[in-house]
Every structure is written in structure tokens, then in C-alpha cells.
């Protein structure tokens, strides 16, 4: 009777340890899944939009805003996305 209690006790402890390990495994699996999920969400910013129309005088000269935007060194002058638009 004493032996069987000891066995039951051991089985209980083993079961608890197993459940804990399983729980920990699930937790790790969840953490891994969460990290994998977030990695998929690390998306680059949006592509730049289309530049506007050009008059029949063509792209040369300062009056051509789209061509100036295409060549601009500054992101703002280049009409690139900002933190609110991507």
C-alpha cells in the first residue's frame, strides 16, 4: 500500500513535470510563432507614386516639375512617401 502510494506520488510528479515541460514547449512554440509572424510583417515602405503630366514643351527646363522631382536629391522634392503615407 505504501509502495503504491509512492508510485502514485512519483507518477503524479512525473505527470506534473511532463505537463510543465509541455506547457513550456507550447510557450516556446507560441513565442516562435509570434516572432515568425512579426518577421513576416517587417514589410518595406510603399513604392513611390506616379509623377504628374508634362506639357508639350517637354522635360527640359525648370518649368518641368516631374523631371525636377525625378532628379531631386531631397526626398521631399522627389515626392517620396513620408511617414504618414506608407
Amino acid at each position: 500500500m505504501m509502495m503504491s502510494r509512492r508510485v502514485v506520488h512519483r507518477i503524479t510528479i512525473a505527470s506534473l513535470l511532463f505537463l510543465s515541460a509541455a506547457g513550456l514547449g507550447v510557450a516556446y512554440a507560441n513565442a516562435g510563432a509570434m516572432i515568425a509572424l512579426t518577421r513576416d510583417q517587417l514589410l518595406p515602405s510603399a513604392a513611390a507614386g506616379l509623377l504628374g503630366p508634362i506639357s508639350e514643351e517637354g522635360r527640359t527646363g525648370w518649368a518641368c516639375r516631374p523631371e525636377r522631382a525625378a532628379a531631386a536629391r531631397s526626398p521631399k522634392a522627389a515626392e517620396l512617401p513620408d511617414t504618414d503615407t506608407h
Binding site: 517587417l42 508634362i54 522635360r59 513620408d82
Partner: protein, 273 residues
Amino acid sequence: MRLALLPVVLAGLIACEMPASAQTYSSTRPIPATTSIPTLHAQAVARAVHERFRIGLAALDASDWGRAATQFEAVVALHPTEPKGSTAWYDLAIAQANLGQNDAAAASLNAALALDHAFLAAMANLIAIDLRRGDVRDAREVADRFVALAPDSARALYSRGLIALRMDNFAVARSDFAKLLSNDPSYAVAHYDLGVTEARIGAFGTAQHEFASALALAPRYARARFALGTILLREGHRAEALAAFERAARDSSDDPTLHGLAIAMRDAIATSH
């Protein structure tokens, strides 16, 4: 004596006729000063090109894409001289893109570039349209030409960086975003993209630094806040990650997808304790 001179003076005045000077008006439509058939034909074509450009540009301005496309198709059919030819193809592409005809728009921009090899705005728009239709390879080829012609162009560097990132070409992406930032360190979006590049390589410390730089420039930049949260979570800083997702959820009310993700991440961390 004086009275004797009066008739002479009057006669002199009458004889001296003051000619009325002719008033001239500049003509907006010069009268053809030729009877040459080819010259008259060229003038008629030039007039048609001018009028169709005027109507087409007004239609683009009014978002009347179909009408604009009709006008610019008529212009290119007339084969006008440069720069009108390449410009008409470029404007036609804008109308076609807005009509959802992305393949036709790409063909029009290639026609513009065949006429004018250094047309930077056409390259910029061709990259945007190639990305819309999923032709990353052509977008990359155009972006390489764009960067070669305008090495400091923010648009060229930004576009090629994004394409390289999409193609897993991290060295080019890193180089282009870094150069964009060396030209303008205040561009938060480039810090964010450089952070994404570094994270993809596995350089999480550098990625975290870039996301933090983006947020220092734009504290309400929800996508950068979310990205920072993912790095913090990966590094095991759950409390800081939770705070980042919480703030990202608060700042992303105008982006339902990001808002939902940030809330899901926040709740997942909160319930996994």
C-alpha cells in the same frame, strides 16, 4: 505783317498731313506664308498636336482618363518631333495607368524612353508601373539605368533600394538606403527601410538602431514602432515589446491592418505571461 503770315502757316499745317500709324496685333495663329503642300501639312500637324496636348492635359487635370488617353493616342499617331513625341507617350502612360491598363502604360513609357534615353521622369513612372504589375526584373533594370544617370536622385535610390530588398539583394538595398540617408539624414522612411534590410540580414542590433532613429525623427511613425516591437520581442525584452505594440496600436488608427496586428501582438504578449 503778322496777319499776312497767317494764311501761309495754315496752308502749311493743312499740307503737312499727319499719317495715322497702323496698329499691329500679334497673331496667335500666324497666317501661312507659303503655298507649299508639305509646309502647310507640317503646320496643320503642329496645330493638331498643340490642340490635342491642350485638351489632353486639361483632361488629365480633371481625372478624365479616357478622354486624355484618346488625345495623347492621337498625338503619338502623328509622330511629332522631340520633345513632343516622348512627352505624349509619357502623358498617355499616366492616363493608361489610371485606367488600370498597366501593361499598356509600361509599353508607352518604353516608347518614350526609346525616343529620349535620359527621360528621368519616364524611368521613375516605369518603375512604379512595373512594380504594380509585378515585373520586378524589369523594374530593377530600369532602376539601374536611373541610378547610373542620376546617382544622387532620391527617387532613383529609394526605388532601387526597395526593388533590391524585394529581390533579397540586401547589399544593394543597404547601399542605396545608406546613400539616401547620407544625402538627407532626416528622412525617417529611409531609416525604417534600412532597419528592415538589417533585420532581414539578421543584424538585429543595427535594425533596432535604425528603427529607433526613424522614431526619433517621427515619434508617431506606427510602422517603425511596430518593427521596433518585433526586434525587442526577438531579443527577449517582452515588457518593452509590449509597450511598443501598445503605442503602435494607438498611432495606427488610419491603418486598419497594422492596427489589428499591433493589437494582436500586444494581447498575445499580455496573455502569454
